[in-house]
Symmetry: C2
Subunit: 215 residues, 2 copies
Amino acid sequence: MKWGRRAGPRGYHHGNLKEALVRAALELIAEKGPAGFTFADAARWAGVSPAAPYRHFRDRDALLADVARRGFQEFASALAKAWDEGKPEVMAAFDRLGKTYLAFAKREPAYYSAMFEAGVPLDTDRELREASENAFAVLRAAAEKLVSLIPSPGRPPALMVALHIWSMTHGIASLFGRGDAARRALPMPPEELLEAAVLIYLRGLGLNATAARQR
Amino acid sequence: MKWGRRAGPRGYHHGNLKEALVRAALELIAEKGPAGFTFADAARWAGVSPAAPYRHFRDRDALLADVARRGFQEFASALAKAWDEGKPEVMAAFDRLGKTYLAFAKREPAYYSAMFEAGVPLDTDRELREASENAFAVLRAAAEKLVSLIPSPGRPPALMVALHIWSMTHGIASLFGRGDAARRALPMPPEELLEAAVLIYLRGLGLNATAARQR
DNA sequence: TGTACATCAGTGAACGCGCGTTCACTGATGTAC
DNA sequence: TGTACATCAGTGAACGCGCGTTCACTGATGTAC
């Protein structure tokens, strides 16, 4: 019988405490929200004395910032993969992008909280800021490619379109699409609500969206 | 020289402690977020012993729920006043509605937090639930009137339109439009971002939005 | 109008609790020779 | 290959602190007669 790392009696050294603390934070945030998790809690969850986390993180905020950073990195790479530079077809790729955004918010509510609701300041940590910028850059690139389909006079700024899509998606995610606690009742799944909104919005931009129906 | 209620030495009785506690909560939430305010803090802010609040609220959560309830009530009446049943012109009224939403989020970040981010459960308190439903009912009524302008075949469900507008507005408000701490840089004011988004969305619905330009 | 009494609203002292943080320590691991 | 030593990572005890909550109390207010 083989033991997982958490099953057997561990020695004096934990071996991978830093990772364990991050996982603990995610677990606890998912359970009680970003405010309801404490440094001591995380240590307890990892099976370690309350002083041990100080070897790896300056304080609670540093741990939270690290969680947010990892979240943005995973988020950015999930979005980039979904968008895939608009291949094979821009509209279909755009649809994938939106679905992936919502799926991330639902699958990783703890990451999402840490990233957007915990009040982690983005400007203190360079890596954190870069990770968040990378995530937005994907949305921005997608918007860029979308507006390029629109004839030049009357073409809206790509940045604005990216911000619109982001706001719409974030709004749906935070009002309805959270996996941790369904906050409000909804007559349709959030994915459909988003898809419909984006179709209407794109039609308003003058983009023929029928190609997106192929999923 | 006349004294305001908080200036002079108060007697043994505070006189209006319940209101003072609510104001304290708003002040503290605006300062440190909905999680970073404590019952004891509120008592201190109101200049009263830590046991006094128990005469008026069962516990911290009850105070928070009361703040959320008041927030929804003010929100609902501000929205209703802005919408004014679509008078004199539907599109202009709709524009006012969106601006009023954002203005509320900016002017009353503490209320907005308590209402949408503090995790106050809506289903425990009847008055709270009703207040929140009243606020949404305004959006819903506005959407109803809007879609009635669209020719019947291909007319979208009003509820969906209401949810789209709400999500969009909430997304912009929570990402960019908060008065307490401008979370992210933006190339244009949030009001303009929202107005543009709504215009595009309405155009996508087949509504001629030029009438809205009259503000 | 005055007096007795009930009720209300806030006091202040006390408690147990868990958190954040520090400290000297010690077991485990890696490295130089 | 073995030994000495430096470094690393976690221990556990301790501290001060503020919070939530309770309790018997007391000053102020309202009301009945």
